[in-house]
């Protein structure tokens, strides 16, 4: 199964983290991810939530707000992608990710790439 691993950082905890060590850990982690095979990718790192802008479109026009989508202590900070057999393997990758020490990793299964045909529409060619 394919999962997107969403990294949520506690930015305060991260700020206090030893930079050099964290970068070294991340280099090792990305290396391991790349070696683990097809469908695994290191993803991207995001700027801090303070740089975020949120748009919500209403009937009477779009509302543009400075700041992140949700005002929470832990913010979306990046992601990586994996392709593994099941949730247990995904959990193992989440534990390996250095960011799990400074926040949380949300494991989200990817939906099917193509919408499946509606069975009611298939009656005709059955």
């Amino acid at each position: 199964m394919r999962y997107m691993m969403l990294i949520h950082h506690d930015e305060e905890a991260l700020a206090a983290a030893p930079r050099k060590e964290l970068y070294a850990d991340y280099a090792a982690f990305n290396e391991a991810l790349a070696k683990a095979g097809k469908g695994m990718s290191a993803g991207e790192r995001l700027q801090p939530a303070s740089a975020a802008t949120t748009v919500r479109q209403h009937a009477d026009g779009a509302e543009v707000l400075d700041g992140p989508y949700a005002d929470t202590r832990e913010q979306l900070a990046g992601y990586f992608l994996i392709d593994v057999a099941d949730l247990d393997e995904a959990i193992a990758w989440a534990r390996r990710c250095p960011s799990s020490r400074y926040g949380a990793i949300e494991i989200r299964p990817l939906a099917d790439a193509y919408p499946r045909p509606d069975p009611r529409l298939r009656k005709a060619d059955d």
């Binding site: 099941d86 949730l87 959990i91 069975p119």
Partner: protein
């Protein structure tokens, strides 16, 4: 109903009770789609009721049901009624051909793997027990809802969501590795114990006593599938100990009878003997966990009553072990109550009163009952009165509430 139809119905019913969980686990493990497997199995049972009265009951009803259910599962995939890729479909068809060529009688037992899926850490804690009861035992949402005091429609919806979660989140059907087995097994045992505890607390309801038997059945199943795990045996011993004393928990009028006044002649001694033997096996085979200690405490209580003298020192020592493992305030409370028998009610009251600031105790009925009892013993009548009143208010079992009301009326100065 004709004779043939009645025979067929009985055979289908027997097959259902004996092999429902086994068949479902096998079907679900191959697609990871529990709801789809349930549908396929239900269709197979319906087909059995239609065909067995005419064609006769097959030699191996389970194998017959499995063959039909598998075909239905594959049909559903082919019609695109489940969200599976063509690859899955091909894999299942290949499996089908392989199975047809091999022994159709042997159905691999995947029930343990199914239980681990139901009690996966990615599954909401309060749905683990209901899901195990439904998938392994085939209980309906209505039956489970009654046992857990939840509206049937709500329970049904939560079960549907939990099953979808197994499929969508990719929860595996697998017995965990050694490194994770202990903690993951704990969740399975916890779910079974939750089912048993429900029956213990809701003794008055009709669904409750059968739920206790189902929980014990599940526990025996886990022991038989994981014979080397001492905690699985510890849990079974614990439940058998409790079950052995159950007939004496109520007097003929339905009133609550505390352990120290129970008529030991009503106890189920063969069950007690079995609990003791299982506990000995558990203790002999490895590290001691919480269920073994809890079973040992139950054992000490029962033996104490039978011998006419309870070893309270040993019970307090066991609670100390348990508190070290769990850190649970419930354990600390029970230890304090046991301590009253050695160090006197004043010392026990001091220990219980020390938990006053623990917010978990505020709505925990046994805390208030113990506080009331110990205050009464030490002559703090006003405090006893207040705690007893709160304990009555928190009782969900009418028999226990009545027992406490009687104690309240018996306090000096009551009714003035």
């Amino acid at each position: 109903m004709t004779e043939a139809a009645a025979t067929a119905a009985r055979a289908a019913e027997r097959a259902a009770r004996e092999s429902y969980g086994r068949l479902l686990a096998f079907l679900a493990a191959r697609t990871r789609d529990v709801a789809g497997a349930e549908d396929a199995l239900a269709e197979a049972f319906a087909a059995a009721l239609a065909s067995w009265p005419v064609d006769g009951v097959p030699d191996n009803p389970s194998a017959w049901l499995l063959t039909v259910a598998r075909r239905r599962q594959t049909d559903h995939l082919r019609r695109g009624r489940t969200r599976r890729s063509a690859l899955d479909h091909l894999r299942l068809v290949a499996e089908e051909l392989e199975a047809a060529a091999s022994d159709p009688v042997a159905i691999p037992d995947r029930r343990l793997a199914l239980m681990f899926a139901c009690a996966h850490p990615g599954m909401p804690g309060d749905m683990r027990a209901p899901l195990i009861l439904q998938t392994i035992l085939g209980l309906t949402a209505v039956e489970i809802a009654a046992a857990f005091l939840i509206p049937p429609a709500t329970m049904s919806q939560r079960l549907v969501r939990a099953k979808a979660r197994i499929r969508d989140a990719g929860i595996p059907f697998r017995i965990p590795d050694r490194s994770e087995l202990a903690s993951r097994l704990d969740a399975v045992l916890g779910a079974i114990y939750a089912a048993y505890s429900r029956s213990w607390n809701e003794i008055g309801t009709a669904g409750a006593s059968s739920l206790a038997l189902e929980a014990i059945w599940l526990s025996r199943l886990v022991v038989s599938l994981l014979p080397k795990e001492p905690e699985a045996k510890g849990l079974l011993a614990l439940m058998l100990h409790a079950e052995a004393r159950k007939p004496a928990r109520r007097d003929p009028s339905g009133a609550f009878v505390p352990l120290d006044r129970q008529d030991t002649a009503l106890w189920n001694l063969p069950l007690f003997e079995e609990a003791e033997a299982i506990l000995r096996e558990a203790n002999a085979s490895g590290p001691t966990g919480r269920y073994q200690i809890e079973a040992a405490i139950q054992s000490a209580h029962t033996i104490g009553r039978l011998a006419g003298e309870t070893n309270w020192q040993a019970i307090v020592a066991l609670y100390d072990h348990l508190a070290a493992i769990t850190g649970s305030p419930v354990v600390i409370l029970n230890r304090a109550v046991a301590l009253a028998n050695i160090a006197g009610p004043a010392a026990a009251l001091k220990a219980v009163a020390a938990m006053r600031d623990d917010t978990r105790m505020k709505s925990y009925q046994p805390y208030w009952a113990a506080l009331a009892h110990l205050n009464a013993e030490t002559g703090h009548i006003a405090e006893a009165h207040e705690a007893m009143t709160i304990a009555i208010g928190l009782s969900s079992d009418p028999a226990v509430a009545q027992y406490l009301r009687n104690r309240l009326d018996a306090l000096p100065g009551s009714g003035c």
